[in-house]
């Protein structure tokens, strides 16, 4: 079976900024490099659907990728590593397998969701999720949107939606004004970020920007009609068509855990050259710490150069990485969840959406494992990716070891032999 596997010197899992920078940097040394990505197109969540991009960094990296010999495997989701050095992945057509010399994990992050009454209604979704759907063709012109939760993504999403004709009724950030002000002051160390923040502020002129505010309940008959916002102690009901609500980001570390990488504080532990605790396995971008696109690009370059054997060039970027990591730390501090948000989830609120398990059914269990076994929480198709971070915040439960397959896979793809994967060059994208 191994003989039919595609062989690569370097496999990058994830085609966002960190993955693209990794692959381009690794390929500079003439190595045979491939990117496998779950999404139908490369770019990750931040550069999603933007082949002709207004962001100069995106444009530059995508054009470097197009000039490179990196092979792309979009719509390919890695679900298992049967033996070190081999990955199994599922595509729309079947199963493929890759053999690698070095592996770079650039699996990105997802939004954190907190359960509150009404969060399972249709049209209540993540902030990045609504943006992704609009990029994927959902008409937003004239729709009333409340953007809520926490993190720098909220303003970016609000601005994007407004530009595309949405009526952004309010942006509710749970962090306090004081904490945001401290963060803004800290931006002086990062001039590029100030320009971005300032631009967003201008684009959002006329939008109600609330701080220390969060959604208490969402209401509607199967589909969202209004949301009640807690702000300055007086709850306020706002009629809207969409609630775009995400509480910052959580790293996608499942694949890293599966291949045995050590995690610390929920993030993949890496050294100065993005090496994980597992030999020949590197990690770059959000899984090592939520730091945004600039840090992801830099970590990607370091990982790619190191994996391609350009150790000295990789070492030269360490100082820059330290500076960007300080920005990541300030992000974490500014947008940490306030304890009041734990009270949003009532006993009747569904926490696990796959299996419809409410908070009252979870409370009696002392751990994630006990709750899984006895309530089916986390046993549905998302495998705890949505409810796991929520129970961690609400109940202090830590998710446990990851087992293959890391994603639901069609039975025939677990048993059948792999097809030869068919990659494509970025120049044909």
């Amino acid at each position: 079976m191994r003989s039919s596997n595609s062989q690569f010197d370097v496999i990058v899992v994830g085609g966002g900024p960190a993955g693209i920078a990794s692959a381009v940097s690794a390929a500079q040394s003439g190595k045979r490099v491939a990117i496998a990505d779950d999404n139908p197109a490369l770019g990750g969540q931040i550069w999603r659907g933007e082949t002709v991009h207004s962001d100069p960094a995106a444009r530059a990296w995508i054009s470097k990728l197009r000039e490179s010999a990196v092979l792309l495997f979009p719509g390919t989701r890695v679900f298992d590593q049967p033996v070190p050095g081999t990955l199994n992945a599922e595509t729309l057509d079947g199963r493929v397998a890759f053999d690698y010399g070095k592996l770079i994990l650039a699996t990105g992050a997802r939004e954190r969701f907190l359960p509150f009454p009404g969060w399972t209604l249709q049209n209540v979704m993540g902030a990045g999720a609504l943006q992704a759907l609009v990029k994927a063709g959902l008409p937003i012109q004239g729709k009333r949107v409340v953007v809520a939760g926490t993190g720098p993504l909220l303003l970016a999403v609000a601005s994007y939606l407004k530009k595309h004709g949405a009526i952004v009724v309010a942006v509710c950030e749970q962090a306090s004004r004081a904490s945001l002000a401290a963060f803004a002051l800290g931006l002086f160390a990062h001039p590029g970020k100030i320009a971005q923040a300032w631009e967003l502020r201008g684009e959002l002129a006329g939008v109600d920007l609330l701080t220390s505010a969060w959604p208490l309940t969402a209401a509607g008959n199967q589909i969202l009609e209004s949301v009640v916002i807690s702000s300055k102690r007086t709850p306020k009901r706002i009629a809207c068509d969409y609630l775009a609500c995400g509480f910052h980001l959580v790293p996608n570390t499942e694949l890293a855990s599966l291949v045995g990488c050590r995690l610390e504080g929920g993030f993949v532990q890496v050294d100065d050259l993005q090496n994980t605790s597992v030999p020949n396995v590197f990690c770059a971008g959000e899984p090592t710490g939520i730091g945004g696109v600039d840090l992801a690009l830099l970590e990607g370059q370091i990982a790619g150069l190191a994996a391609g054997g350009h150790r000295a060039a990789a070492e030269n970027l360490r100082k820059q990485r330290a500076k960007l990591r300080s920005f990541a730390r300030s992000l974490e501090k500014t947008f940490q969840l306030r304890p009041e948000l734990k009270r949003l989830t009532t006993p009747e609120t569904i926490v696990c959406r796959c299996e419809d398990v409410t908070l009252s059914k979870l409370r009696p269990h002392g751990s994630w494992r006990a709750a899984k076994l006895q309530s089916r929480c986390g046993m549905g198709p998302c495998q705890g990716r949505i409810c796991g971070p929520a129970t961690q915040f609400l109940l202090g439960w830590a998710a446990e070891s990851v087992r293959p397959p890391v994603l639901p896979v069609k039975l025939r793809n677990l048993t059948y032999e792999s097809d030869q994967p068919k990659g494509e060059l970025a120049s044909v994208m």
Partner: protein
């Protein structure tokens, strides 16, 4: 205006712009993605292939994540809600 492509959602024809995801097409058609274990109608949550709320039957393949699949002319989409 680029040419629209036609897909079928629960038997009804919907015209969408090229590049539209199946999840977006289902929302345009006013279709719920699925009915939950306790009977709630659900729509997309994460928009990036993680939550599986948007799963639907696409050209006969059950439980396909509709947010990760781009509409192709003539595609047949069915939801269980």
């Amino acid at each position: 205006m680029p040419e629209q492509i036609a897909v079928t959602v629960n038997g009804a024809t919907v015209a969408v712009a090229p590049g539209t995801s199946v999840a977006a097409a289902m929302m345009i058609a006013g279709a719920s993605c699925r009915s939950s274990v306790s009977g709630e109608l659900r729509g997309p949550l994460c928009g990036m292939g993680v939550c599986f709320e948007c799963r639907a039957e696409i050209d006969g393949v059950a439980h396909s994540r509709s947010c990760q699949i781009v509409c192709v002319s003539g595609m047949n989409i069915k939801t269980d809600a």
